[in-house]
C-alpha cells in the first residue's frame, strides 16, 4: 500500500429518473473519495444507499451527472469508447450474482475476457489454469457453472476478473449470497490476492464483518452521501455517526438485550456495578482486570466479552460486574479510566 491514489472521486453526483413515477432520485450526492493504490477499500451502506451506482462509476458502467472519477489520474467519464474498454480491462469486477455464462465451462468463463486478445491459445490456457490454481479450483476447468456451489462460482468469477491482470478488483456484494463459512473463505482469498498480486480492491457490502476482516479503509454511504470515512480501525474504535455505530453494533456483543440485563445472572448486590469497558485507542494491552483485582481488591466478573485483534490492535471491550467495598469499586473505576479505556456504568445495585 502506498500513498498514491489509484481512484479518486471528485464531487461526483448522479440522479436517476424512476421509470414509473418520473420522480427524480438523487442517488449519489457530492461524493469525494481517494482510494490508495494497493489498499482494500470498503464501502458500506444499506440497500438502496447507492453503493452499486458508486462502484459502477469506477469502471464507467454508470456515468456521473456532475463531478469526475479518475483512474490513475485519467478521467473515466469522458473517455472515448475504445479507450474506456481498454481501461475496463485494467479493472476486474465481481458481482453478488456471479454472472457466469451458463453455457460455458469454468475454463471458457475465465478465458472469455481474453478470448479476443492477441494471446495465443497456449498462453490463454496457461493463464487460465494458473488462475484456477490461485483461486483453488484447479480441477474444475471443465465443469459447468450449474454444477458448482456458490463459493466455487464466486471463485470462478474472481479468476475471470483477474485474467486481464487488472490493477483494481471491484467487488459488488461479492459475498452477500454466500453462507458465513464460504464468505470467510472468499475474504481470505481476496486478502491473499491483495498481498500477493498487490492488487487494489474496492468492496461494496452491507455486512460489517466483511469490512472488519478485509478492508484497510472504509466509507459509509447513507442515502447517496458519504457520512463517514477513514481507516477501519479508527472508524471501528470511534464511530462518529449513528449509522456507523449501528453497523458496528451488528458485529459486537456488548449491547445486552433487556432480557439479559434483567436476568438472575446479573443480579447486583451491595455496591456492585455493572460496567462496560471499551478500548478507545490502540495502546498496548495491559492486564487491567488483574491490576484492579489486586490493587483495589475488587472482583471483576466478566459477563460478556468481546475483544478482538483488528489490524494488530485490540478492539472491543467487556461487560463486568465490579464488586467490593464502595471506595474500592470507585477507585478501580477511575484507575481504568486513566488507562485510556472508556467506562460506562450500565447498572448499579
Amino acid at each position: 500500500m502506498t500513498e498514491e491514489n489509484i481512484i479518486t472521486f471528485d464531487h461526483v453526483s448522479k440522479e436517476f429518473t424512476r421509470a414509473d413515477s418520473k420522480e427524480k432520485l438523487q442517488v449519489l450526492k457530492n461524493i469525494n473519495l481517494k482510494i490508495h493504490k494497493g489498499s482494500i477499500f470498503g464501502i458500506i451502506g444499506y440497500s438502496g444507499a447507492g453503493k452499486s451506482t458508486l462502484i459502477r462509476c469506477i469502471n464507467g458502467i454508470e456515468l456521473p451527472d456532475t463531478g469526475k472519477v479518475d483512474f490513475e489520474d485519467i478521467e473515466i467519464n469522458h473517455m472515448p469508447k475504445k479507450q474506456l474498454r481498454e481501461t475496463r480491462k485494467e479493472m476486474g469486477m465481481i458481482f453478488q450474482q456471479f454472472n457466469l455464462m451458463p453455457s460455458r465451462t469454468v475454463f471458457e468463463n475465465v478465458a472469455l475476457p481474453i478470448k479476443y486478445s492477441k494471446q495465443s491459445q497456449q498462453q490463454i490456457k496457461d493463464k487460465v489454469l494458473e488462475l484456477l490454481k490461485i483461486v483453488g479450483l484447479p480441477d474444475k476447468a471443465d465443469a459447468f457453472p450449474s454444477t458448482l456451489s456458490g463459493g466455487q462460482k464466486q471463485r470462478v468469477a474472481i479468476a475471470r476478473a483477474l485474467v486481464n491482470d487488472p490493477k483494481v478488483l471491484l467487488c459488488d456484494e461479492a459475498t452477500s449470497a454466500l453462507d458465513p463459512q464460504t464468505t470467510e473463505d472468499i475474504i481470505q482469498l481476496l486478502r491473499r490476492l491483495n498481498h500477493e498480486l498487490d492488487i487494489t480492491i474496492v468492496v461494496v457490502t452491507h455486512e460489517m464483518q466483511v469490512i472488519e476482516e478485509l478492508c484497510d479503509d472504509v466509507a459509509v454511504l447513507d442515502k447517496g452521501k458519504i457520512v463517514e470515512q477513514g481507516d477501519v480501525y479508527s472508524v471501528f474504535v470511534d464511530p462518529k455517526t449513528p449509522l456507523t455505530k449501528k453497523f458496528i453494533a451488528t458485529t459486537s456483543k456488548l449491547n445486552l438485550p433487556d432480557e439479559v440485563l434483567n436476568s438472575n445472572l446479573l443480579k447486583l448486590h451491595d455496591n456492585d456495578l455493572l460496567v462496560k469497558v471499551t478500548y478507545i485507542s490502540s495502546k498496548a494491552i495491559e492486564p487491567l482486570i488483574s491490576a484492579i483485582s489486586r490493587k483495589f481488591n475488587v472482583d471483576a466478573n466478566i459477563i460478556v466479552g468481546d475483544i478482538k485483534i483488528l489490524r494488530g490492535k485490540p478492539l472491543g471491550g467487556l461487560v463486568i460486574i465490579l464488586s467490593g467495598k464502595q471506595s474500592d469499586v470507585s477507585g478501580a473505576l477511575s484507575y481504568i479510566k486513566e488507562k485510556q479505556v472508556r467506562t460506562e456504568v450500565l447498572a448499579s445495585a
Binding site: N59, I61, R85, E86, T87, R88, K89, M91, G92, M93, F95, Q97, N99, M101, P102, S103, R104, L112, P113, K115, Y116, F144, P145, S146, R160, N164, L170
Partner: protein
C-alpha cells in the same frame, strides 16, 4: 395400401412426392435465410433499445415501425406486391424459386420479434459482466447474447418454423407448389378428402420433426 387408403394421392403420386420436396426446399432455404436476417434484426432491436448496449432510438424506432407495417400486410397481398422485386432478386417470380423471397419477407417480421423476445429474456447481469470485461458491442453480441440464448433461440425458431409451414401453403398463388398447395389443388378444389389427409399427415410429420430438433438443440445447449 397407399392406393387403397389414398386413391387420389396414388394417382398423382409423383406430384405429391414432388410437393414434399418443394415444401422441404422452401422451408430449408427460407428458414436459413430468414433465420440469419431475423437474427440480425432481432439483435439490432435488442442492442438499440433504450438501455440497450448500443442504444439508438432512431434505429430502434424505424425497425419497430417497419416490422409492424409488414406484419399488417396479409401474406397473399404481400406476395403479389413483391413480384417485381422477387423477379429482380430471384430471377423469377414463380415456382419454388419465386416463393423464397416473399416467404422471407413474410416471416422475417414475426421471426425478428421472436428473436427479440428470446434475447431480451437473457439475464441482464451476463451482459453487464461482458461490459465490465471490456468486450466490444460486437463481442458481447457474439459471445454473450447469441451464445447464451441458443436454447431460447431454438425454441422461438421452432415456433416460427411452424408458422412458416403455414405460409408455404399460400404460395400456390405464384405456382410455388408444395404440400400445402397440393392440399389446396386436390383436397380443396377437387374435394379429394384423401389428398387433404395425406397432406396433413405430411405436415404433421414435418412439424413434429421440427419440434424434436428444436427440443434437442435446446436440451443439448442447456447446462
Amino acid at each position: 395400401m397407399l392406393s387403397k387408403l389414398f386413391p387420389n394421392v396414388a394417382l398423382n403420386y409423383n406430384i405429391f412426392q414432388n410437393s414434399i420436396v418443394q415444401t422441404v426446399e422452401m422451408l430449408i432455404i427460407t428458414g436459413i435465410i430468414s433465420f440469419l436476417i431475423s437474427l440480425i434484426i432481432g439483435v439490432l432491436l435488442v442492442v438499440t433499445k433504450k438501455d440497450g448496449i448500443a442504444s439508438n432510438p432512431v434505429v430502434w424506432n424505424i425497425l419497430d415501425k417497419i416490422i409492424n407495417l409488414f406484419r399488417s400486410i396479409p401474406f397473399i397481398i404481400l406476395i403479389a406486391a413483391l413480384i417485381p422485386l422477387t423477379r429482380v432478386l430471384s430471377g423469377t417470380a414463380i415456382g419454388v424459386k419465386g416463393t423464397i423471397f416473399p416467404l422471407i419477407v413474410g416471416i422475417v417480421p414475426f421471426f425478428s420479434r421472436q428473436i427479440e423476445s428470446a434475447l431480451n429474456d437473457l439475464d441482464q447481469g451476463l451482459i453487464e459482466s461482458g461490459q465490465v470485461m471490456g468486450l466490444s458491442t460486437f463481442q458481447i453480441i457474439k459471445s454473450i447474447y447469441l451464445k447464451e440464448s441458443i436454447s431460447n433461440i431454438s425454441r422461438v425458431t421452432t415456433i416460427t418454423f411452424i408458422s412458416l409451414i403455414g405460409l408455404t401453403a399460400i404460395v400456390g398463388v405464384v405456382g410455388g407448389g408444395g404440400i400445402g398447395d397440393f392440399a389446396i389443388q386436390y383436397g380443396f378444389q377437387q374435394n379429394e378428402q384423401d389428398a387433404t389427409f395425406a397432406c396433413i399427415i405430411v405436415l404433421l410429420v414435418i412439424v413434429t420433426i421440427v419440434q424434436i430438433i428444436g427440443t434437442l438443440v435446446s436440451r443439448k445447449t442447456t447446462h
